[in-house]
């Protein structure tokens, strides 16, 4: 029978040397597969951090497009509140210039505070609440802040995953060789957390 013939030839050919060579080949193949999957995992994690970062930028852009509308509406009723408007403009400029997660986080913090002060000023003008679309703008702003918060959270989760992969044992060898740099988290620097003075003097 064909199967018996096949079996006999296989048994004859498989000497110990051949068996050892085949085993070594199999092991090398498996290790190569493992290395490839490890490398691909690192690449995928890095891609995810980049995508999450662009997600944050999308939300920041969205807020940036809301702000001029908001500022103009408030300026229509409270034209003399110059400092607040100047602050907002300054914070926007800082955010536009910022590069990298840490600087962006600090600038974002500044802008949030400036906007908070702007809204606090707007509370003093009741006729502003009746202005067309102001409540809608307020809601949109609050919603955008929440979206930024979630986008930030998503970025940090992916940054955590990527950094962990780079620093864990099999990965850190690859990282050094293929130049996988760790990424920073999107957190504000400690200097930002000092208390800021809110003045309700004017109005």
């Amino acid at each position: 029978m064909l199967s018996a013939l096949l079996f006999q030839t296989t048994a004859a050919v498989t000497t110990p040397a051949v068996a050892a060579a085949l085993f070594a080949l199999l092991m090398a193949f498996l290790m190569a597969m493992f290395a490839i999957s490890l490398y691909n995992g690192l690449v995928r994690a890095r891609m995810r951090t980049r995508e999450a970062w662009s997600g944050i930028e999308v939300q920041l852009k969205r807020r940036a497009s809301l702000i001029p509308n908001l500022v103009e509406t408030v300026r229509g009723y409270a034209a003399h509140e110059h400092e607040v408007f100047a602050e907002v403009a300054q914070a926007r400029g800082a955010l536009a210039k910022a590069s990298g997660p840490a600087a962006s986080a600090a600038a974002d913090q500044f802008l949030t505070q400036a906007l908070g002060r702007l809204m606090a000023v707007a509370e003093n003008y009741p006729q502003l609440q009746a202005a067309a679309g102001f409540t809608q703008l307020q809601e949109d702003l609050a919603d955008t802040e929440e979206k930024i918060a979630y986008a930030r959270q998503f970025y940090n989760v992916n940054a955590l995953d990527y950094n962990a992969r780079i620093q864990s044992f099999p990965g850190n060898q690859f990282a050094a060789w293929f130049h996988f740099e760790p990424v920073t988290f999107f957190t504000a620097e400690p200097a930002v957390f000092e208390d800021v003075q809110v003045s309700f003097a004017k109005g």
């Binding site: 999450a52 997600g55 939300q59 919603d143 929440e146 959270q153 998503f154």
Partner: protein
């Protein structure tokens, strides 16, 4: 409700890893159950075929024994020992020997046949399992939504929609569509085969009862289900469980039919001694296939469902960074009760809280192994382990609020459109139990009962859109866009439209579909009626043909031996 006790804080990540491990173990167990099941079924079928079509070796043995007895009788009878008698004796022995050899060859052939039959049947049964997966897994989300009467979220649910959008940004998933169910009972579910085509449905009662942070917790829970591919996993497990229960359900159906027809159970007639021996020899296999496997399958399915609920709770706490919201929402729903009027066991696992449990009598179901959801107290105590800051007073307050809610919003008894049979095979045999959108190609009328002489409920013009609940029979059960239910003769030609049944209530979508229909009139859909796409029908036919060809081939080979 007694205040849950927290012994020691647990990290969310640990809890998530633990639940994932548990799911893997349970799924491996379910797959491990399938292997002896397939072996037992193929063994049984091959034995049956051998018994029916194999040769009777005992006749050969009888003749051989008769010959040998004749031979020994002749030897003992003391007859003259001549050349002739010796010749006769040798001849008789030779004949007996040849009969024995023939018998041995027959037995070897039977053994080979048996083995080949087992392999072929095992292959066929595995193919059946694959087909089952495919059918169950490709069921559209629209089925589930129609079953619950859900409508797309409108402008009044903007807040919930924004919340869902924000959460999906945090989870890195595409935003699922939000649907609203017209029920005062607070509950929610997520459905969809993959994250890009998922929906989240909430009841009106949930939106009214919960505050912002609590709604956030619930939506995060549903989103976690979607992100963890829980609907896909539960569908696979449901298909596996259905496969393991199939013989048992078929026998139960047969018994039910007999009981209906004869008003008492008429046992299967025994066909004599041979049949009895066959049954006795097969007893372990029979017990496994008809008793052990179905029970274990159901237990495993429920256990997996419960473990995924815990996982979704933990993932929701991680996503929203706010386990208190979820805890309070759970407490409120515990007080209010989460019974939803339509609850087929096949989709019960998709809900946020167990849809079959009345709110106050929860104690009865506390230790139930068959529950698809863990008891709410257990869920709350696990969430509290993540060091949430909810006091038991706050939980009691939330439960009280839930009960108050039920007092002012009592659950309305929704009449189901058709009696939902609790038998799971119904999901397969009935084609589209949950309805699909079709276009009627010629004008027709809808009747009140499946009878052309009954009252006409509505008239449908040619090109009208309907939701059809396919029913094997001379009438189809349909629902018009303005929620009128009626029976349509099966002879009316219909064409499948790719819309969700909930969308036909929206005039804009209907108009779009109408305009698309004029151009698409020429395109005819062939396999729409049975709920399978043409590709599925083709592959099913190919598999069936292969299996039967294999059986034929093997039997021919045996017959020629």
């Amino acid at each position: 409700m007694s205040p849950p006790s927290v012994s020691q804080p647990v990290l969310v990540y640990d809890r998530i890893a633990q639940n994932r491990r548990k799911t893997v173990i349970l799924v491996a167990l379910a797959i491990a159950l399938t292997v002896p099941f397939v072996a037992a079924v193929s063994f049984g079928v091959s034995e049956f075929l051998v018994a029916q079509f194999g040769p009777r070796t005992d006749t050969g043995r009888t003749r051989e024994d008769a010959m040998r007895r004749a031979l020994s009788k002749r030897r003992e009878s003391g007859r003259p020992d001549t050349e002739f008698t010796r010749e006769l004796d040798r001849d008789l022995e030779f004949q007996a020997g040849r009969m024995r050899e023939q018998r041995q060859r027959d037995e070897e052939a039977i053994a080979r046949f048996r083995l080949q039959m087992m392999l072929v049947v095992a292959g066929g049964v595995t193919a059946l399992l694959g087909l089952l997966f495919w059918t169950v897994a490709s069921s559209p989300t629209s089925k589930v939504l129609t079953m619950c009467g859900a409508r797309p979220a409108g402008a009044s649910e903007n807040e919930a929609r924004r919340l869902l959008e924000n959460l999906s940004i945090g989870a890195g998933l595409p935003t699922p569509k939000l649907y609203v169910i017209n029920s005062p009972t607070p509950n929610a579910f997520a459905a969809g085969t993959d994250p890009a085509h998922s929906v989240v449905a909430v009841t009106q009662g949930l939106l009214t009862l919960l505050e912002y942070r609590e709604l956030e917790g619930v939506l995060a829970h549903e989103l976690s289900h979607i992100g963890n591919h829980d609907t896909r996993l539960n569908t696979v497990v449901a298909a596996l469980a259905l496969f393991l229960r199939l013989p048992y359900l078929l026998v139960k159906r047969r018994i039910d039919q007999h009981t209906q027809n004869h008003y008492e159970y008429v046992p299967v007639r025994r066909r004599g001694w041979f049949r009895l021996m066959f049954t006795v020899a097969m007893l372990p296999a029979i017990v496994y296939v008809f008793v052990v496997a179905p029970i274990l399958a159901i237990l495993i399915r429920s256990a997996i469902s419960r473990s995924r609920e815990f996982l979704a709770d933990a993932d929701a706490a991680l996503l929203s960074r706010n386990p208190e919201g979820l805890v309070r929402a759970l407490a409120k729903i515990a007080g209010a009760g989460s019974v939803v009027a339509v609850s087929n066991p096949v989709i019960a696992h998709l809900y946020f809280a167990d849809p079959q449990v009345p709110g106050i009598a929860m104690g009865l179901f506390r230790g139930s192994l068959l529950a698809t959801h863990p008891p709410i107290e257990k869920r709350i105590s696990r969430l509290m382990e993540f060091n949430g800051g909810v006091t038991s007073a706050a939980i009691e307050q939330a439960v009280h609020e839930g009960k108050e809610f039920t007092r002012f919003h009592p659950p309305v008894a929704i009449e189901t459109l058709e009696p939902i049979k609790q038998d799971e095979i119904y999901v397969l045999t009935a084609g589209n139990p949950m309805g699909r959108v079709y276009r009627v190609l010629s004008a027709t009328s809808l009747y009140d009962r499946p009878d052309v002489r009954s009252f006409i409920v509505a008239r449908i013009p040619a090109g009208g859109l309907l939701v059809v609940f396919d029913d094997p029979g001379r009438f189809r059960q349909v629902l018009t866009p303005d929620q009128t239910f009626g029976y349509m003769p099966a002879s009316v030609k219909i064409q499948k439209i790719d819309m969700l049944p909930a969308e036909i209530h929206d005039p804009a979508a209907r108009a779009a579909a109408q305009s698309a229909a004029v151009t698409a009139q020429a395109v005819a859909q062939s396999a729409a009626a049975r709920g399978l796409t043409p590709a599925q029908v083709l592959i099913a036919t190919a598999l069936g043909v292969t299996v039967f060809a294999g059986i034929f081939f093997v039997m021919m080979k045996f017959g020629g031996n």
